[in-house]
């Protein structure tokens, strides 16, 4: 019954008695862009942590492409096709933009593989292709620390694209971006959700409206509401805990 690409069932994690995620169910389809919203402390980031293996679940299951992820180590989850962007842009400031992207190229991930990794034409082509996608093609040789905050966000998205993940999770991808950058990012996200699932955590409602197929509202570790944006926005419970404030 693996109807869905990603199936999360009865997921629970507790930190010293406090249930950050509490019996959560979530299903995401292929080619779907799902936005998760909710007040601070609702467990959104923890949910991503659980899917990518950064935090281990106390109970419940996470199945992706019909494979159970909860018992896998992080790097195996990544290799199985899950990519995750962190809340603060997480890039290698001491390397160039090119090198940042190159490290994310899914080859030579073992010790020996990395030692004998060669920068072949296919790597170079792929880096340029992704760099074009994230509007950074003319910045490739610069140290990443010189990028603006928004460009760093793009670079991290680009690093994920290098991996060509089938499940892409983005934690507040437009935080700190200008209006123009947000628009460009919205276009970028719409382009890249082909042939994969994308989960985005975001607070900016305008941005959410512009990209979401379907919205999940989380509250106190549970799903409060789910559906198309306008339906969710009209839900009185959602207004009560989140939108109304």
């Amino acid at each position: 019954m693996s109807a869905y690409f990603l199936e999360i069932e009865d997921l629970t994690v507790s930190f010293g008695g406090f249930k950050a995620i509490d019996g959560l169910n979530l299903y995401v389809d292929r080619d779907e862009l799902r936005v998760v919203i909710g007040p601070n402390g609702a467990g959104k980031t923890t949910l991503l942590d659980l899917i990518c293996g950064r935090t281990k679940a106390t109970a419940g299951s996470i199945r992706f492409k019909a494979k159970e992820l909860t018992s896998l180590p992080e790097h195996k989850i990544v290799r199985f096709g899950v990519g995750r962007k962190f809340q603060n842009p997480s890039i290698y400031e001491n390397l160039t933009v090119f090198e940042n992207l190159e490290i994310s190229f899914p080859r030579g991930r073992g010790v020996l593989g990395a030692l004998f990794f060669r920068r072949t034409q296919d790597v170079i082509d792929r880096v340029h292709e992704v760099a074009r996608e994230i509007f950074l093609e003319d910045r490739l040789d610069e140290p990443a620390e010189l990028l603006s905050h928004g460009q760093k966000q793009w670079l991290e998205i680009g690093m994920l694209l290098m991996q060509d993940p089938e499940l892409l999770m983005l934690d507040e991808p437009v935080a700190g971006m200008s209006v123009a950058e947000r628009k460009k990012t919205a276009e970028l996200l719409k382009r890249i959700c082909r042939n994969r699932s994308v989960i985005v955590i975001e607070h900016d409602m305008e941005f959410v409206k512009s990209i979401a197929d379907k919205v999940t509202v989380m509250h106190q570790g549970k799903v409060l509401a789910e559906g198309p944006m306008d339906k969710v926005q009209a839900d009185p419970r959602v207004i009560e805990v989140y939108l109304g404030h």
Binding site: F15, G16, F18, A20, T46
Partner: protein, 307 residues
């Protein structure tokens, strides 16, 4: 070894246990200071053993001066020496904090290397001042002799005294940390330095006081140390690795953990010494600690928190 009865065996174990308690006392006092300083400032103080040595030499000087000039006070000097050791080690700590440590906050590895250098310098200063030969403080009469609850058990009074002193001091530190205003500020700074600063706590001053307190406790450990061994320039440095293992093994954030871990380490070592040579006992004790730490790196006591 042949033909000892069960009760004699029990007595030996018991006395061995008391031997362990003396080591336990010194380890605990050292580890308390280290743990407070590391928890508060992220500074690894490799020169902590030298503060113990300062305390020990201070006691020696007190004993020497008393013996020379006020022989009548010999029975009470030791109590003053303890206070003196605390104050003097604390003062040196104040100076060291101002000159060196405050530049090394939250740089544990750098602080480790720099304070190692400091320990070398301090050792050389001790050697130039007091000579390379070990010295001993003259103990007051009431610390000599032993207590014999039964015919076969013979517990030295100095060991009992050191233990009592350690218990009192540990309680004082606990009271200080959890009941006093400065203790509250210390805990606040440890938990959230930025926030503590924002609500008006002078975190630099709190750091300084923490370091001084830690060094002072090591000084008292040094005074205690003089009752169980003689003092040389490197006396304190012999304890530094054990003391750090005690802190790590106990789980760096927990006073109770430090206590339990100092007890476990000292008792294991001292019990093993009964069955094998001292060096093998030490090897097996240290190896067990490391093996346990490899399986449980967070130490004996720790709280699971959300990162």
């Amino acid at each position: 070894m042949e033909g000892i009865s069960i009760s004699e065996f029990g007595s030996i174990l018991m006395m061995q246990g008391f031997n362990g308690l003396s080591v336990f006392s010194v380890l605990l006092l050292m580890a308390l200071g280290l743990a407070i300083i590391f928890g508060q400032m992220g500074v690894i103080n490799m020169a902590h053993g030298e503060f113990l040595t300062i305390g020990a030499y201070t006691t020696f000087v007190f004993s020497y001066l008393t013996q020379t000039y006020f022989p009548s006070l010999m029975s009470t000097y030791f109590l003053f020496a303890i206070v003196g050791a605390f104050i003097f080690a604390g003062l040196v700590g104040l100076l060291v904090e101002w000159l060196l440590i405050r530049h090394l906050y939250k740089r544990p590895l750098d602080s480790l290397l720099a304070t190692w250098g400091l320990s070398l310098i301090m050792q050389q200063i001790f050697r130039s001042t007091f000579g390379a030969k070990e010295v001993s403080a003259t103990l007051p009469d009431w610390l000599m002799g032993s207590w014999q609850p039964t015919d076969t058990i013979d517990i030295p009074l100095n060991g009992l005294f050191v233990m009592g002193l350690t218990i009192v001091l540990t309680c004082l530190v606990g009271l200080f940390m959890y009941r006093s205003r400065l203790g509250l500020k210390m805990r606040a700074t440890t938990q959230n330095r930025v926030m503590a600063g924002a609500v008006g706590i002078n975190t630099a001053m709190v750091d300084r006081m923490t370091f001084v307190l830690g060094c002072g406790i090591a000084g008292v450990a040094g005074a205690a140390f003089t009752t169980i061994g003689s003092t040389g320039p490197t006396s304190g440095s012999l304890y530094i690795v054990d003391a750090f293992l005690t802190v790590v093994f106990g789980g760096a954030q927990s006073l109770l953990g430090t206590l339990a871990s100092a007890f476990t380490i000292a008792q294991t070592n001292s019990t093993l010494e009964f069955f094998m040579t001292g060096s093998m006992a030490k090897v097996i004790t240290l190896l067990s600690i490391i093996a346990i730490l490899m399986m449980r790196p967070e130490g004996l006591f720790s709280i699971k928190v959300r990162k």
